[in-house]
């Protein structure tokens, strides 16, 4: 009996102690690792303030923030392998798709109620992060490829043309602008190292990228004719040669600042750079609505926040990701830099309804509330790195006259359909 009593006492004491310990453990702050991409040092104050607000609202969670740059993906892969995976990672649509296809990510619709996700974000911005029927990212700040049209009024006047209202008008005036001013009309996104930007032109013209069974189908006569149009302009010297080597937006901004390009189709962020490099040109730059393709749609992309499968604190991570991507915090971000929020409530925000003569403010108002148009125009295919490289190589071969546009597109479609992983 004595023995039994002693055991009982010990048992009670142990359970009391362990109960105490578990309460203490619950009160111990959980530390989560948060990785952003190319945001430091420029946006340090915004990120730090938002983290502080989150920690205040969630005293049991501590956020350790790192900003990754060129080595983001490698660091992410390495950290998962070494057992120190981050809990919240900022990736774009392409990388999210690749990471999810390779099993790196946790579906976020299992962490945040799908109904909440649906009411917070525009349907398309959420669809951009949906892979295999599951949502893998909280959509964050976005941008539109077309966005706005910025132009140098002096060059358009010299060319005797007015700002194009659609892409057909744009393509029709390319020769006149170059012949009469010596400057290129604009820099199209012909090729980019990690993507397949030219597919966006097909989407803009209402041409399909895939057929109903999910196979690549961008080699119809209409696709070929559109590519032929660009090839003719390239071969005629009406598009800059460097467009095959450099990222279009960067090249366009550089050349525009030197009066060597008359127009930029893109986000307002180009204006920040022009304001720094050529203030007088910035002052006279006119901002208007972007010319769109025959389908009348915009293309665009956004960042997202993802939760790695290897995260040890997915619930806390989801809270942080949801906090950063909510409408209030995306609007705060939009007030610092002209991003396009991916939250549905942003379209009614009075901030985007302000009227201003300043080019950046005007461009921000024009695009800021257009998050519903953020759509790359095509789903990222499985094995995308190989497929994009093949696409880029074929577009380049067509531009440089090594293949006819028909050959280039037929070859690409055939390669894609053989090598695409579902």
């Amino acid at each position: 009996m004595k023995y039994a009593l002693r055991l009982l006492t010990l048992g009670l004491a142990f359970s009391a102690t362990s109960g105490h310990l578990s309460t203490a453990a619950a009160q111990q702050p959980v530390e989560i690792q948060f990785w952003t991409w190319y945001l430091s040092p420029k946006f340090d104050p915004y990120i730090k303030t938002t983290i502080a607000a989150f920690e205040k609202a969630n005293p049991t969670i501590k956020v350790k923030w790192f900003d990754k740059q060129a080595t983001m993906v490698q660091d992410f892969i390495a950290s998962v392998n070494m057992g120190g995976a981050p809990d919240v990672v900022n990736l774009n649509i392409d990388e999210t798709a690749k990471a999810a296809q390779n099993g790196f990510l946790r579906a976020v619709d299992g962490l945040t109620a799908p109904a909440t996700l649906k009411t917070t974000f525009y349907p398309q911005t959420l669809r951009n992060f949906t892979i295999g029927g599951k949502v893998y990212g909280y959509p964050w700040y976005g941008s539109l490829n077309e966005g706005v049209l910025l132009y140098n009024p002096d060059l358009l006047k010299k060319a005797g043309v007015s700002a194009p209202r659609n892409m057909t008008e744009m393509l029709n005036m390319v020769k006149a602008v170059k012949d009469k001013t010596g400057a290129y009309a604009w820099v199209p996104a012909l090729k980019d190292p990690g993507g397949a930007s030219f597919l966006g032109y097909f989407f803009s013209d209402g041409l399909p990228i895939y057929n109903a069974s999910g196979q690549a189908a961008f080699n119809s006569p209409a696709h070929i004719a559109l590519l032929q149009r660009y090839v003719d302009l390239f071969k005629g010297g009406y598009l800059p040669e460097d467009a095959l080597r450099k990222e279009a937006f960067q090249l366009a901004t550089e050349l525009y600042a030197q009066n060597k390009v008359a127009m930029i189709v893109g986000g307002p962020q180009a204006l920040n750079r022009i304001k720094d490099s050529n203030p007088s040109l910035y002052a006279k730059t006119v901002v208007t609505t972007a010319p769109l393709g025959k389908a009348g749609v915009q293309t665009g992309t956004s960042m997202g926040m993802v939760i790695p499968t290897a995260s040890k604190h997915p619930a806390e991570a989801a809270k942080l990701a949801a906090f950063f991507t909510n409408n209030v915090n995306q609007m705060e971000f939009a007030k610092i830099v002209p991003i396009v929020p991916t939250t549905a409530a942003a379209q009614n925000d009075p901030y985007f309804k302000k009227v201003s003569a300043d080019p950046i403010a005007k461009a921000t108002s024009l695009v800021g509330a257009s998050g519903r148009f953020i759509n790359p125009g095509f789903k990222v295919p499985g094995n995308s790195d190989d497929l994009y490289k093949n696409f880029s190589d074929n577009i380049e071969a067509a531009m440089l006259g090594k293949k006819t546009p028909a050959q280039a597109l037929n070859d690409t479609v055939s390669y894609w359909n053989t090598n695409m992983k579902k």
Partner: protein, 313 residues
């Protein structure tokens, strides 16, 4: 030798030898440990990975490498991009003899004790310590259609077909990138040659002058033979460097146009580190192929210099 001495000698020798060995390893240990960790182990593991499937979904799900024998090598040699990249890397070796001859010749020139020579020695070395990103911006200006090179050639009426986009043409981009490699490596090899030259006894040179040898004869009959070990070292280093060229390509052309500057290391890099479709198995196999080529060329270098050494003596 007394009995006492005889009985002591073997014991002393063996204990000394044992202690010596231990001491030697103790001194070698720090370097050996570091080499094992950072060279031998990665080398062995990388070679092993070349025969496995490792990366992509396998990696994401935390699965270990799967042995697949020579499958990666089959994939490599069936991939036209790999063959193109390997071909480009081998073609890149053209830079080696040009670079070696030029840096040796300039080293001979700056070896003279003339006023201001220190400036030239330092100036030639500047590109070696210039960061590649900075060098890329500068060479962009040089190669641009409205850049310095076109301006100079235009002024000399050497551009009958107008300005050339040096980095944009299939025929020119490869050589344009190679010139940057030349520019970056030149000072480095020049300094190595300079060190070698300063080890040649002046008496030899003076004797040859007295015998009436011309500068050209002295260069070929004295300098070159005396410099053979340095030439071997430099040509070996630059052969390996040429096979492994990557940075210039990444920053200037990204492998284009039409993969004309896509090198073997760029293939390895893109397979291993591009996006989440990375394939460590295939990249390691490609790395092994490059290593085998480098090894074969190194052996050829040794043979070439040893044989000609034999002929000389």
């Amino acid at each position: 030798m007394t009995r006492a001495q005889r009985s002591l000698t073997p014991r002393t020798r063996s204990s000394f030898s044992w202690r010596d060995t231990l001491m030697s390893y103790a001194f070698l240990a720090p370097a050996l440990i570091l080499l094992t960790l950072f060279t031998f182990y990665p080398l062995a593991y990388g070679s092993y990975l070349g025969f496995t499937e490792y990366g992509g979904a396998r990696f994401g799900q935390g699965l270990p490498p799967k042995w697949i024998g020579i499958e990666n090598f089959r994939t490599l040699f069936a991939d036209p991009l790999f063959l193109t990249s390997l071909g480009n890397s081998v073609k890149y070796l053209v830079v080696v003899p040009v670079l070696q001859l030029a840096s040796l010749a300039v080293a001979v020139l700056v070896n003279k004790n003339l006023p201001g020579m220190t400036f030239f020695r330092a100036a030639y070395y500047v590109p070696v310590v210039t960061s590649i990103s900075l060098a890329a911006v500068m060479w962009e200006w040089v190669y641009n259609k409205d850049g310095t090179l076109n301006w100079v050639l235009g002024a000399l009426h050497l551009l009958p077909n107008g300005a050339v986009g040096w980095l944009n043409g299939e025929a020119t981009a490869f050589w344009a990138v190679m010139l940057v490699t030349f520019w970056r490596g030149f000072g480095y090899y020049m300094v190595l040659y300079l060190a070698g030259l300063q080890g040649i006894p002046e008496e030899l040179e003076e004797a040859a002058v007295l015998d009436g040898a011309s500068a050209w004869q002295r260069f070929w009959q004295i300098t070159v033979p005396m410099m053979k070990p340095t030439i071997l070292l430099c040509s070996l280093l630059s052969t390996i460097a040429a096979l492994r060229v990557l940075e210039e390509v990444l920053v200037l052309t990204n492998g284009g146009p039409l993969n004309s500057t896509y090198t073997a290391l760029m293939y390895v890099y893109s397979k291993a580190f591009q996006g989440f479709n990375f394939d460590y198995g295939l990249a390691s196999a490609a790395g092994l192929v490059v290593a085998v080529v480098a090894l074969a060329l190194s052996v050829a270098n040794f043979r070439l210099f040893r044989e000609s050494d034999g002929e000389g003596t």
